[in-house]
């Protein structure tokens, strides 16, 4: 006998494909993997409680991101706490995954592979170094592929403001990576 799915189960099903995005976005805010999980978890519950208030199902993704942000903002201190033990943090600090062999530019030598990895982590560092007002839109639009409109929704910002922050942030990012320009300009 099959029972109809509960509200929790239905919500979970919608949430599931977005967990990665939620976690990565939370990480951009908290800069701490354990806090990011806590934030994502807390935000999920908040979102579930407000689920009925969401009228447009199409907007689920930016709506969810917005909740993550407000949850973070409401409890900035709680979610920004420094990790207690360095050893634990080391073990759990997520690094980027191993880059795929053929991602950009075709097959590479071991030296090039190393440079590519280094470049990758420099890019990530540079982005995480950006002030929040630039880091968030740049991350959402360029790393996660949200549309300008979705970014504006997620940040509760007028479209014009989002665009100017997006481009300004993107420019700052590019400038931070100036020394790697030769690698990037092939």
């Amino acid at each position: 006998m099959v029972f109809p799915a509960s509200k929790e189960e239905r919500f979970e099903k919608e949430l599931q494909p977005l967990l990665g995005l939620m976690y990565r976005y939370a990480l951009r805010l908290t800069r701490n993997p354990e806090m990011a999980q806590d934030l994502a978890q807390d935000a999920s519950i908040k979102a579930f409680e407000r689920w009925d208030q969401l009228k447009d199902r199409e907007k689920f993704r930016p709506w969810l991101l917005r909740i993550i942000f407000t949850t973070f903002a409401d409890q900035r201190r709680k979610f920004s706490r420094q990790p207690e033990t360095a050893s634990l943090d080391e073990r759990f600090m997520p690094r980027g995954r191993e880059p795929k062999q053929e991602s950009v530019g075709g097959p590479t030598s071991p030296e090039e592979e190393m440079l590519r990895k280094e470049l990758g982590s420099k890019i990530k560092e540079a982005l995480d170094d950006l002030p929040e007002q630039y880091r968030l839109p740049v991350f959402l639009a360029y790393a996660e592929g949200l549309s300008y409109g979705e970014v504006a929704s997620a940040l509760d910002c007028p479209l014009g403001t989002v665009m100017s922050r997006l481009h300004r942030g993107r420019r700052i990012l590019r400038e931070k990576l100036e020394e790697y320009a030769p690698l990037l300009a092939y």
Partner: protein
């Protein structure tokens, strides 16, 4: 004619495909003719590609989905249990009174020098309800010990795998991560609900757990063992079971356990 400066200003719009066809073609014409701007375009385009590359960014921890599921279930349980709460508290008033006193006592200070690590663990666990609930009522119930051992073992390697129901009627309600000061490894404590089980199963030596020894303290039965280097004590406290684990002498752990009874 479009200048280099104009091109640079419009570059991100161009890359993001936000320009009108006509404007875009002007930019393209300029790029075709200007190596400097072409290089800049190439650079920015490649940077965009790199930013989009999944390999650059973090993979979501496998535990997160589970944590969310558990949190959702708990809020559901809290929701539906709200009406039953009064009845429950009235039935369990003795236990609740003791628990209340314990919480107050822990809130003040407990001065066990060697035991302070475990004290914090215990306070953390009791305060956040990190206990094993093995069903309601006064039946003897058992923890799926092999699964707990596996989960703890795998936690030391930074991954989490929880089995689905290991026995009919046994349902995993929750799990949390506890960090103890001084401990290097986080630990999972299960919340499990079940219908019929037996405490004797706990005494079975299993992988990771070095056998449980039945001990009687203040008339209460406790099961003492070790798992992956932690001393563990499993005992029943009213309606719930407690699993304590700590990196401290077994005796201290037992003392703490009995102080909660």
């Amino acid at each position: 004619m479009v200048t280099c400066r104009e091109v640079r200003e419009q570059l991100y719009f161009f890359l993001d495909d936000r320009l009108e066809k006509k404007e875009a073609s002007f930019i393209q014409e300029h790029l075709d003719a200007c190596p400097g701007c072409r290089r800049e375009h190439q650079l920015e385009s490649n940077l965009n590609l790199k930013l989009k590359d999944q390999a650059l960014w973090e993979e979501v921890p496998s535990a997160l989905g589970l944590r969310v599921r558990i949190a959702l279930r708990e809020q559901k349980r809290d929701r539906t249990a709200l009406s039953a709460l009064w009845a429950f508290f009235y039935q369990q008033r003795a236990f609740v009174a003791v628990a209340g006193l314990v919480l107050i006592a822990l809130g003040v200070t407990i001065n066990l020098r060697e035991g302070t690590q475990a004290t914090k663990l215990v306070a953390h666990m009791v305060r956040d309800h990190h206990v094993l609930h093995l069903g309601r009522g006064s039946q003897d119930l058992a923890v799926p010990v092999p699964e707990v051992a596996v989960a703890m073992h795998q936690m030391t390697r930074g991954e989490v795998h929880l089995p689905t129901a290991s026995q009919p009627g046994l349902e995993v309600l929750g799990a949390r991560f506890c960090k103890f000061e001084g401990q290097k490894t986080p630990m999972i404590v299960y919340l499990v609900a079940g219908k019929e089980v037996s405490l004797h199963a706990l005494a079975r030596p299993v992988k990771g757990f070095k056998g449980f020894e039945k001990v009687s303290l203040k008339g209460e039965t406790m099961y003492v063992g070790s798992a992956n280097g932690f001393q563990t004590v499993l005992y029943k406290a009213g309606d719930a079971f407690c699993l304590l684990a700590g990196d401290l002498p077994r005796q201290k752990l037992l003392e703490l356990a009995s102080s909660i009874l």
